[in-house]
Amino acid sequence: MSLLTVEKLTKSFGGLTAVSNVSMNIEKGELIGLIGPNGAGKTTIFNLLTGVYAPTSGRIKLETEEGKKEIGGLKPYNVTKIGLARTFQNIRLFKDLTVLDNIRIAMHQNVDYKLPSGLFRSNKFYDEEERLKKEAEKLLDIFKLAHKKQELAKNLPYGEQRHLEIVRAMATRPVLLLLDEPAAGMNPNETSNLTETIAKIRKEFDLTVLLIEHDMSLVMKICERIYVLDYGTMIASGKPEEIKNNKRVIEAYLGEDV
């Protein structure tokens, strides 16, 4: 059964159509790649999926426990509540806060005490904070960041910052994880760590992943299916081998034959 269904999604900014008539279908448990040349509209699609932009037309439906839900046009925090989490192309961590606080903030929606409890420190406040801290530490432990929990996010090395962003997205308990160029700027060593992390996420958390990436060797290696965008339209989709030999994809990246 498909987890995410995108039907004829279009987004125009004034006269510019950044995304036009894009349809996608993601099954539960898949790892899907979204590729395309610079400016093809990949990040715009992410922004539409996560509620940063409202679609001009088209539908986005996410399968949840309570049946299919239309998420196009919802506010980002509501989309997150329904089960979509993302990372950003240029890292957007809470830089001046500790690693632990970054995670705890992402757990905000599953905190079970109200404002008065926090202001007057009821027992529930202490119990919930204790639980929250334990869960955050457990999550950091799984991703080997536990020993850095008290460090400020901005003091982590680049690779770990990208890593932390993924862990932070995981803390919102998503069913679908969107990764926007997770390997950008990483050295080969960091990229192989990332591959491991993505594999771990899928195995241990039973997650579906959609990722934008320019590192083709990574995409071809780990993605089960790939969608290719060019000038806002979907020009191809299929298995990595099919994409590699697709004429339109090669044209989009390298230009037409002279």
């Binding site: 996560t50 940063v52 506010k75 980002p76 925090y77 989309v79 997150t80 509540k81 989490a85 993302r86 950003f88 957007r92 961590l93 809470f94 830089k95 001046d96 806060l97 500790t98 632990l100 606080d101 705890r104 903030i105 992402a106 905000h108 929606q109 905190v111 005490y113 404002l115 409890s117 926090g118 202001l119 007057f120 420190r121 027992n123 406040f125 202490y126 119990d127 919930e128 904070e129 929250l132 801290k133 008290q150 932070r168 997205a169 919102t172």
Partner: protein, 317 residues
């Protein structure tokens, strides 16, 4: 009751000692009645600065209208107190003043908090001016530009201390709760906060309302201490004075605001004998501090953080 842990009990003891020492100094006359005004100013400024710090320092919403909320508290308390000349009237006045300020905070916050940075600063500045002009023109109730006179004085050291501690405890608890962390995440990165499931508008308005609530308390205490209020007291200058304390102490540090409020009040008092030079020295001092410590005295750290470095496995509260 988990509130009664070791740390909180120690805090309670320290707080009681501070109260008792100052009370003893006042009773024995070592602190003369002239310096009593300094103490009242310090307490009121702590309440105002810490509440503004919640909005500007922790939530990252630059507000230039704090004196507006202060005036709502001041007028509400004064008017009630003039009708009900008793301690009960005073407390009702404080509650009404704080409540009214919080309500106005919510009403103004919902439209203005969509703005960011300098735009928000101008909008809040305008809001405070509107409130001031309203008080100025409601002659029948507020006595217009002449102000309200002969407000009964119930603000004593005890009440000043109680409300200052109350403000500090509640705002400290807020910023260390999940709701407070949501506010801090807005300061850090609003887009990321929203995609982590935080309803940013809701939490901005929440911080704004809590800030206004305590500004209302500050204003109420002010009116009941100084016998007299008029719209000019709560002008733009007052908002700036409060903001200076916050920036001086460190945006995002509660103890920083407390230290700054005390220091600035003490400096002002000491400079009183050099009347002509006073403002120049005061201004030069502020410029010097901003050059050498642009993040303010404490930055975003609290006094308690300074002790944590010594312990190896510091607990995060």
């Amino acid at each position: 009751m988990k509130v009664l842990n070791k740390k909180n009990i120690i805090t309670l003891i320290i707080v009681s000692v501070i109260y008792a020492v100052v009370q003893a100094l006042l009773a024995s006359g070592i602190i003369s009645s002239f310096y009593e005004i300094t103490i009242a100013t310090i307490c009121i400024n702590i309440i105002l600065a810490v509440s503004l710090n919640l909005v500007t320092g922790f939530t990252g919403q630059f507000s230039l209208g704090h004196a507006g909320f202060m005036s709502i508290g001041a007028y509400a308390c004064a008017l009630i107190n003039l009708k009900m000349n008793s301690t009960a009237g005073f407390l009702v006045g404080i509650a009404a003043g704080a409540g009214a300020a919080a309500l106005v905070g919510i009403l103004i916050g919902i439209p203005t908090l969509r703005l960011k940075g300098d735009y928000l600063a101008i909008a809040t500045l305008g809001m405070a001016e509107i409130i001031r002009v309203i008080f100025l023109n409601m002659d029948d109730i507020t006595n217009g530009a002449a102000g309200l006179n002969g407000i009964p004085r119930f603000t004593s050291w005890l009440w000043l201390f109680v409300f200052t501690v109350f403000t500090l405890v509640i705002i400290n608890n807020f910023v260390k709760s999940s709701q407070g962390r949501a506010c801090i995440s807005i300061r850090e990165d609003e887009i990321a906060a929203e995609s982590m499931g935080i309803n940013t508008t809701k939490y901005k308005v929440m911080a704004f309302a809590i800030g206004a609530f305590f500004a209302g308390i500050g204003g109420a205490l002010y009116s009941s201490y100084f016998y007299f209020i008029s719209p000019t007291i709560f002008g733009f200058q007052k908002s700036i004075d409060i903001l200076v304390i916050v920036v001086f102490g460190g945006m995002g540090s509660i103890t920083g605001s407390v230290i700054a409020a005390i220091l600035l009040a003490v400096i002002t008092t000491m400079l009183q004998s050099y009347s002509e030079l006073r403002m120049i020295i005061y201004a030069a001092l502020l410029i010097a501090i901003m050059i050498f410590r642009p993040q303010g005295l404490m930055g975003t750290k609290e006094v308690t953080d300074l002790f944590k470095f010594r312990r190896k496995d510091a607990k995060v509260e």
